[in-house]
């Protein structure tokens, strides 16, 4: 089973890369852009059939390695 997880910076944590992307999009005449926050996406294939159990396991992976909880939040999709 494949589980998807995203890791993003917490609100209030400075994201210079997101800001640079936002400024570039604006300069490319995407005037609609109000804010950009950059994050990471993980596609994790596990040998667990039960979806709930698989998600719980990926959540544990986020807590222990994929996200640094000092500055990042994660979400299992």
């Amino acid at each position: 089973m494949k589980i998807k997880a995203i890791v993003t910076l917490k609100e209030g944590v400075l994201d210079p890369q997101g800001k640079a992307i936002q400024q570039t999009l604006s300069s490319m005449s995407f005037s609609e852009v109000k804010k950009v926050r950059q994050g990471k996406y993980f596609d994790i294939e596990v040998n667990i059939e039960d979806e709930k159990k698989a998600k719980a396991k990926v959540e544990e992976m986020c807590e222990k390695l994929l996200a640094n909880l000092v500055i990042e939040d994660y979400k299992i999709l």
Partner: protein, 227 residues
């Protein structure tokens, strides 16, 4: 006095550190990260570099190495651990030091000499250094120290901010902050003051004819605590 430099795949300041430690009288040994145990040491150094290509987050993968458990035991025993640059990032990722090192505010790799002010000298890393300001070298992409407001208060209350970026006169302000680090923090200690992580490279400042001599002062001071 015995020291150990731990090498991870992608470490690249390990040999400079070896030269520095030996120059000031440490009997140094190089230890591969996959070793289950650290040989007998008085000081462990995690060197600079780009362990695991900085994949995921700087220092995050090295922070899960086999040797880390034995490093944690070593820290508990009260002996000294020093992390330079990537070594500092690894120490924050393992939770041995508070906070995190983020991408530099200006998104540029910074490589230059800076001044740092010694903020806390009641520890074995800075205790007998007469100077208040040292000139050291920095070279990093992720040196922007960050922690939550609560954590900041805790480390301030516990006197864990070891060094801050400043000018030649010792003034720490936004103008003298190379990377956006909160409160100009260049290095922090753990609560017990036996673990130090710092972005500047003292091992690059050990020859007055080549670079500068302030790194020598730093190493001589550490060694002085063992005499």
């Amino acid at each position: 006095m015995k020291s150990s430099v731990i090498i991870f795949p992608g470490s690249n300041c390990d040999r400079d550190m070896d030269v520095a430690l030996k120059k000031f009288g440490f009997k140094n040994q190089m230890v591969w990260h996959n070793e289950p145990e650290i040989p007998k040491s008085d000081l462990i150094v995690l060197p600079g570099g780009f362990s695991y290509g900085d994949y995921l987050r700087c220092g995050s993968i090295a922070g899960k190495s086999k040797i880390i458990n034995s490093l944690i035991d070593f820290v508990k025993s009260g002996r000294l651990v020093l992390g330079i640059c990537n070594g500092f990032q690894i120490l924050t990722e393992t939770g041995l030091l508070p906070g995190v090192l983020q991408r530099n505010k200006n998104l540029e790799f910074i490589c230059k000499n800076v001044f740092i002010k010694i903020n806390n000298n009641s520890n074995s890393f800075f205790n007998n250094i007469k100077k208040n300001v040292l000139k050291l070298h920095i070279a990093h992409n992720e040196g922007n120290y960050f922690c939550s407001n609560d954590e900041l208060k805790t480390i301030e209350d516990n006197n864990q901010i070891a060094i801050t970026y400043c000018n030649s006169e010792g003034l720490s302000n936004e103008e003298n902050n190379p990377n956006g680090a909160i409160k100009n923090i260049a290095g922090v200690l753990n609560k017990e003051k036996n673990v130090l992580g710092m972005m500047p490279h003292p091992e690059r400042m050990i020859d007055k004819y080549l670079s500068g001599d302030d790194g020598s002062i730093f190493f001589e001071n550490i060694l002085g605590n063992f005499k």
